[in-house]
């Protein structure tokens, strides 16, 4: 056992720090949690391209697809640092880098890989993807999706409605789950994955604003959308398996990301508390403040180890069973506690709009406070994740 980062990983950390200091304005508003990445899209894409030029954007991909074959430990360090510095543009609409690319490498055709992977790796707008999974009647019970794809010669015709689709309004491509068979024993058996060009006639994107009025996700309608049969990913009706892979990949990067953003917030809160006077002494002398920040830092350390343990496990060729669920539960819970404690420490200043000149800590606490309830639902609620641990790690009977 060894919990130390390698020289290479430490050097990467340092390079990212220099990059952030050179490229980000000092008054950069850190509220990405509320509106994802898509508010100042032009700036974000500029940053994506810079990250691509550095060889960081898809660092763990093989060279032939635009990566540099970095280890999953380097990838994890990179994700932590990106989130720590709040560098935008690192995710290209979230889907592309995290799971569309890796899934195409595992299950796609050579033609699909050659066409789509370099686009994602370039950091250009044409490399932005969205993922259409959830539907109005298929949330946690995701196998109940009703969007249909019917084969018609060399095409599939797609009809249905998707919802909570992050980045659909920015995406050039869609990673879509649709039903291709309904005469099946179990409902998850008849699902397939398709690549859809968002410019295809019949695709309509409507914004859904979150409770803070920000545009992160959308509803997407498919009305007789014709998709070439060559856009089917892997085998027909095997989509559930690819989906589970994609969700595991998505959940993997949640812990490093939360770790990085919360680490920055906790460090800033500690120095804010040290500099703020309260009842005649520094707020950092207050025993409640000390205890709460300390407990958060301990659990943040746990989250960091969990993140690296999962990276280690995957790089050993082991298939994670419950570990991404564990990490997601831990991360979401920490972000909630961090946001609430942060708001308590900021006191009356916690109610200030994150974009305002009055906001403390570049709006990061309010961003987290407004963002965590949504983030905790995305990619699997705590209830779903705990049932996964119960069933697949502890061997308990299925609970739903």
């Amino acid at each position: 056992m060894d919990f130390r980062l390698s020289e290479k990983e430490l050097a990467l950390k340092e390079e990212i720090r220099k990059f952030a200091e050179a490229e980000l304005p000092t008054d950069f508003v850190r509220n990405t949690l509320i509106d994802g990445e898509f508010r100042d899209f032009e700036f974000e894409i500029t940053m994506s391209k810079k990250l691509a030029q550095r060889g960081w954007l898809v660092m763990s991909w093989p060279e032939k697809y635009g990566g540099r074959g970095a280890s999953l430990f380097e990838q994890t360090v990179y994700e932590m640092e990106i989130a720590y510095w709040g560098i935008p543009g690192a995710w290209m609409g979230i889907s592309g880098i995290q799971w569309v690319g890796p899934c195409l490498m595992m299950f796609g055709t050579e033609e699909q890989r050659d066409k789509y992977l370099p686009l994602i790796a370039s950091g250009e707008k044409d490399g932005v993807w969205c993922t259409c999974y959830s539907e109005p009647n298929a949330g946690s019970d995701f196998a109940s999706i009703q969007t249909r794809a019917v084969k018609d010669g060399n095409h599939y015709i797609i009809n249905g409605q998707k919802v909570w689709t992050s980045a659909a309004h920015r995406a050039r491509w869609c990673w879509l789950a649709a039903r291709t068979a309904s005469n099946v024993v179990k409902k998850h058996q008849g699902i397939s994955i398709f690549i859809v060009d968002m410019k295809t006639p019949g695709v309509t994107v409507n914004p859904i604003l979150n409770y803070y009025g920000r545009h992160h996700f959308n509803e997407v309608f498919f009305d007789n959308v014709r998709v070439p049969a060559s856009n089917l990913v892997g085998e027909e009706n095997k989509g559930w398996y690819y989906l589970m892979q994609s969700l595991a990949l998505e959940r993997r990067s949640i812990a490093p990301t939360i770790y990085g953003s919360l680490k920055w917030i906790l460090e800033e809160l500690a120095s804010y508390a040290a500099q703020t006077e309260y009842e005649g002494q520094s707020l950092s002398r207050n025993s409640l403040v000390r205890a709460k920040l300390t407990d958060l830092v301990i659990d943040l350390e746990v989250l960091k180890i969990f993140a690296f343990q999962l990276a280690w496990q995957i790089s050993q060729g082991q298939i994670p069973i419950y570990e991404s669920s564990r990490n997601k539960i831990m991360g979401d819970d920490l972000m909630k506690r961090g946001a609430i404690t942060g708001a308590e420490i900021l006191g009356i200043y916690s109610q200030i709009d994150p974009d305002s000149k009055w906001a403390k800590l570049n709006g990061a606490v309010q961003g987290a406070y407004l963002g965590f309830p949504g983030q905790a639902i995305a990619a699997g609620t705590a209830e779903i994740e705990k049932s996964i641990i119960g069933q697949f790690r502890l061997g308990l009977p299925k609970s739903y």
């Binding site: 056992m1 060894d2 919990f3 130390r4 980062l5 390698s6 430990f73 906790l266 500690a270 120095s271 508390a273 040290a274 950092s284 002398r285 403040v289 000390r290 205890a291 920040l293 300390t294 407990d295 830092v297 301990i298 659990d299 350390e301 746990v302 180890i305 969990f306 690296f308 343990q309 990276a311 280690w312 496990q313 050993q316 564990r326 539960i329 831990m330 209830e383 994740e385 705990k386 049932s387 641990i389 119960g390 069933q391 790690r393 502890l394 061997g395 308990l396 009977p397 299925k398 609970s399 739903y400």
Partner: protein
């Protein structure tokens, strides 16, 4: 980074688990509650034969030359089985500082004895205040002629009644800070003027008040340097905190195993109760807690093994372990229902030991303060 254990470490864990499952079933734990000594002397000798006493001593002192992480792995298994007896006080609290700070005579004499299972040791720090501060060390050692004379008393000394030697934290001088002027003495536990009185505890472990009524100790029995003993206390705290975490980690794993098995077997409303989310999600939380303790523990232990202990990582592990041990036992009893509240059920054995573990090598508040200071608060 590397999260794998070596083949030897896996072997150590398996052989320890097998040995303890056979030699230290819960019936034995219960029997030892009532035993005058509180542990099985035969088992103690068998443990010595397996090399457990001197696991991390160099071979010249009769040891196995294993590393600190190996000891952690062994002690997780002891915690899993609630091994009764003075292993912790002998090895974690006394042998490790002897190895680090003892002079060559002390190491040769004492470590060999310990390795063979021929000596039991304990550590005496706490006094009336119940804190861990140097300023609260009131027991005085005065130089009279060529010897020191100890006067005062210590509280919460574990397994003192079966100990051969006591490592006593004493005040020998006044310096610029309370940490200066502290000295550790090796005292013959069975010598004249050492009096013991049992302090009954809820854990079934053995704790004592020890009075030192003018106990004469030779200068040769100073551990380390005169007046510089607080560094040794800190050394003991760090190692012992991690090793207590190891016992807690093993105990928590066992509590989770027992409880998830029960949730699969116990049927209510025609279904195993583990199929209810109210129960299943508690168990999922318990699993995350168990893994959090285990990884913080291993991280702290690896720091020590590699020669660069991190005080705040050690404290993080102890805070977490203290909290999780209590929480997991309470949840386990709740999942069991009334049966978990009975003397015949094993869960209670673990719950009753929560407080005994919590106050070893610094309580939760002390360790939180280490982290707060590291954060610049």
């Amino acid at each position: 980074m590397d999260f794998s254990l070596t083949e030897e470490q896996d072997m150590l864990r398996i052989s320890a688990r097998d040995f303890l499952a056979k030699e230290c079933p819960k019936a034995k734990v219960r029997e030892m509650y009532k035993d005058e000594r509180g542990y099985d002397t035969q088992m103690w000798l068998s443990m010595a034969e397996l090399g457990w006493m001197g696991l991390i001593f160099p071979e010249e002192y009769g040891g196995m030359a294993a590393n600190f992480l190996d000891l952690v792995i062994l002690m997780e298994e002891m915690g899993r089985n609630i091994l009764p007896g003075p292993y912790f006080s002998t090895v974690a609290l006394c042998a490790l500082p002897l190895l680090e700070y003892g002079n060559s005579d002390q190491k040769t004499n004492f470590l060999r004895q310990i390795a063979k299972g021929e000596a039991v040791w304990t550590f005496a720090l706490g006094e009336e205040s119940g804190t861990y501060k140097a300023s609260d060390v009131k027991l005085r050692a005065l130089l009279e002629g060529t010897n020191y004379v100890l006067r005062g008393y210590k509280l919460f000394v574990t397994d003192a009644h079966v100990s051969d030697y006591i490592l006593v934290v004493s005040r020998t001088g006044e310096g610029n800070s309370p940490e200066e002027g502290i000295t550790l003495f090796i005292v013959d536990a069975k010598g004249p003027n050492v009096k013991m009185e049992a302090i009954p505890t809820i854990g079934g472990d053995r704790q004592f008040k020890i009075s030192f009524d003018s106990v004469v100790v030779s200068k040769d029995n100073i551990l380390g340097k005169i007046d510089n003993g607080w560094d040794i206390v800190n050394f003991i705290f760090q190692r012992a905190a991690v090793l207590k975490c190891a016992e807690i980690s093993g105990a928590c794993q066992s509590v989770l195993d027992i409880t998830s098995s029960y949730a699969k077997e116990r049927v209510q409303f025609d279904r195993p109760i583990g199929s209810f989310q109210a129960v299943q999600h508690k168990l999922a939380n318990m699993l995350i807690d168990v893994e959090a303790v285990q990884y913080l523990l291993y991280q702290a232990a690896c720091g020590i093994s590699s020669g660069s202990p991190s005080p705040w990582q050690i404290s993080a592990a102890k805070v977490k372990a203290n909290e999780v041990y209590q929480r997991i036992c309470i949840e386990a009893i709740a999942i069991h229902g009334a049966i978990g509240y009975t003397i015949d059920h094993d869960i209670g054995l673990y719950y009753r030991r929560v407080k005994a573990a919590e106050f070893v090598a610094g309580d939760t508040d002390l360790h939180r303060e280490v982290i707060s200071a590291a954060l610049g608060l």
